[in-house]
Amino acid sequence: MSASRTTIARATRRLAPALLLLLLGTGCAQVRAYQRERLTDPIMSFDAVKKDAARRTHALDAREGSTGGNGGAGGGCACN
C-alpha cells in the first residue's frame, strides 16, 4: 500500500503543476449566461459526445497500451 501511495504522490507531483498552470493561465473574460447559447449546441458541447467518447475509449483500450482521456473510469472487462 505504501508503494501505491508513493506512486500516487510521484504522479501527482509530476502532473499537478501542469494542471495548475493551465487553470491559472486561462482568460478571465466574463461570459454571461445569455452569451452561452452556442456552447450548448450539440456540435460544441462536451456532454453531447460523452457516451460516444466512452465507447471509443473502451474499444481502443483493447487495441492500444494506454487508457484515459475522458475524466472517468472504464469498465474492467477483458473483452475483445
Binding site: A3, S4, T7, I8, A11, T12, R14, L15, A16, A18, L19, L22, L23, T26, G27, C28, A29, Q30, V31, A33, Q35, R36, R38, L39, D41, P42, I43, M44, F46, K51, D52, R55, R56, A59, L60, A62, R63, E64, G65, S66, T67, G68, G69, G71, G72, A73, G75, G76, C77, A78, C79, N80
Partner: protein
C-alpha cells in the same frame, strides 16, 4: 414519483477487423429527471464476440500470435473453429445536485467485472469554470475456460481510479477542458490463453501484477462561422511498465441544414514499448520474469478516421408526433495501426424523447 424528460436510445454497433474478429453490440440507454433535482440513468449492452480459429497447430510458434487481443481458449479439437462468446454489460447511476453515484457490471463466461464510482462537480469563479472530481473502485473475477496449452486458475484484478477535471468558458464560442487521471491496477493483467515463444519453446504470457497509470488531457472546442465547430484534443499518458503515449485528435462539425449536422474526425496516436517487451525472448524467464506476446506492449502508432451524420427529426417539419420526438445518428470509423492491423466500426443509433 414524477418522471420527467425521459429519453431512450437504442444503438447497434458492428465491428470487424483484419484478424477476422467480429463484434455485434446492441446497446440501450435510458435517462429520466426525477423530483428534487435528481436524475436516473441506466445503460445496458449485449455483445456477441466471434473470434476466428487459429491458423496453425496449437502450441506451434506460428500459432503464438494467431490470436490478437481477443481472448479465447484453445481446447480439444475446436482450435480451428470460430469461438463465440456473449458479454452483457449493465450500468446504473443516480445524480443528485452536484453528486453522482454509479454501479457497473460486466459478465462473460470467463470474466466478471464490477465497479462502483462517485463523482462530484461544481461551478466556481463566477460560473466560468466547472470543477469535477471522480473516483471509482473496480473488482474483477477471472475464471479462464479449459485451455490445452496454458494453465491459469482463478484470478482477480482490482482497479482504483481517480480524476480531476476543469472545464472553463473562455469566450462565447470557446470552451476548454483539461484534467488528470490516475489508475492503480493490482492482479492478473495478461491474457490467460496466450503463449509466448521464448528460449526455443512456448511459455505462458506473464505481465507484472501491479500497474500504475496516469494521464493528462486537454480539449478545446471552438465555434466557427456558418454553424460549424472545430474540436482539438491532446492526451499524454505514462505508466510504470515503461509505456509513454501521445494522442492528438481533431473533429470538424458542420450543420448541413437545420437539425442535421456532419462531423469529420481524425485521431493520431503513438506509444513507446513496455520495458519487458521484446520481439524475441532468448530465455524462458523473459525480462525480469515477464514475457509478452501482446502487441499493445510494443512500440505502436495508429490513425483513426471517422464520419458521423446526426439528425434531430424535431427540427424538420414532420407531421407524425412519434417522428418529431426522435433523433437518428450513423457513423463509420476506420482504424489502422503500425502492426498491419485495421478495423471498422459502424454505428446506427435511434433516440426517442418522451
Amino acid at each position: 414519483m414524477v418522471l420527467d424528460d425521459q429519453t431512450v436510445d437504442c444503438l447497434i454497433q458492428l465491428f470487424n477487423d483484419s484478424d477476422h474478429v467480429v463484434v455485434r453490440s446492441a446497446i440501450g440507454n435510458y435517462e429520466t429527471t426525477m423530483a428534487h433535482d435528481s436524475h436516473f440513468q441506466m445503460h445496458w449492452n449485449n455483445e456477441q464476440v466471434t473470434v476466428p480459429g487459429i491458423k496453425a497447430p496449437p502450441g506451434s510458434s506460428e500459432a503464438v500470435d494467431a490470436i490478437t487481443t481477443a481472448s479465447r481458449p484453445i481446447s480439444g479439437g475446436d482450435a480451428y473453429s470460430d469461438y463465440v462468446k456473449t458479454r452483457n454489460e449493465f450500468q446504473g447511476g443516480v445524480t443528485h445536485g452536484p453528486a453522482e453515484l454509479q454501479y457497473y457490471l460486466s459478465t462473460e463466461p470467463d470474466y466478471l467485472a464490477q465497479q462502483v464510482a462517485a463523482n462530484w462537480n461544481g461551478d466556481v469563479r463566477d460560473d466560468q469554470t466547472n470543477l469535477a472530481l471522480g473516483t471509482s473502485y473496480g473488482w474483477d473475477s477471472i475464471d479462464p475456460a479449459v485451455d490445452d496449452d496454458t494453465r491459469q486458475g482463478h484470478a482477480t484484478k482490482k482497479t482504483w481510479h481517480g480524476n480531476a477535471v476543469a472545464t472553463r468558458i473562455l469566450t462565447p464560442g470557446t470552451i476548454l477542458r483539461f484534467g488528470l487521471e490516475l489508475n492503480l491496477v493490482e492482479g492478473l493483467q495478461h491474457n490467460p490463453y496466450r503463449n509466448v515463444y521464448a528460449g526455443g519453446t512456448n511459455v505462458p504470457e506473464r505481465h507484472p501484477d501491479h500497474r500504475s497509470r496516469r494521464d493528462l488531457f486537454l480539449k478545446l472546442n471552438q465555434a466557427l462561422p456558418n454553424r460549424s465547430s472545430l474540436k482539438f484534443s491532446y492526451r499524454f499518458y505514462n505508466d510504470d511498465w515503461g509505456i509513454d503515449s501521445h494522442e492528438l485528435g481533431a473533429t470538424l462539425s458542420q450543420y448541413v441544414t437545420h437539425g442535421l449536422f456532419a462531423s469529420w474526425d481524425y485521431r493520431w496516436y503513438t506509444q513507446t514499448a513496455a520495458d519487458f517487451w521484446r520481439a524475441e525472448y532468448l530465455s524462458v524467464t523473459g525480462v525480469d520474469g515477464y514475457l509478452t506476446g501482446d502487441y499493445r506492449m510494443a512500440r505502436l502508432a495508429s490513425h483513426l478516421f471517422g464520419v458521423t451524420l446526426d439528425a434531430d427529426l424535431a427540427a424538420f417539419d414532420v407531421r407524425t408526433p412519434v417522428l418529431g420526438s426522435m433523433g437518428v445518428k450513423g457513423s463509420w470509423e476506420r482504424y489502422f495501426n503500425s502492426n498491419n492491423y485495421s478495423a471498422n466500426f459502424v454505428t446506427a443509433q435511434v433516440t426517442y424523447r418522451f
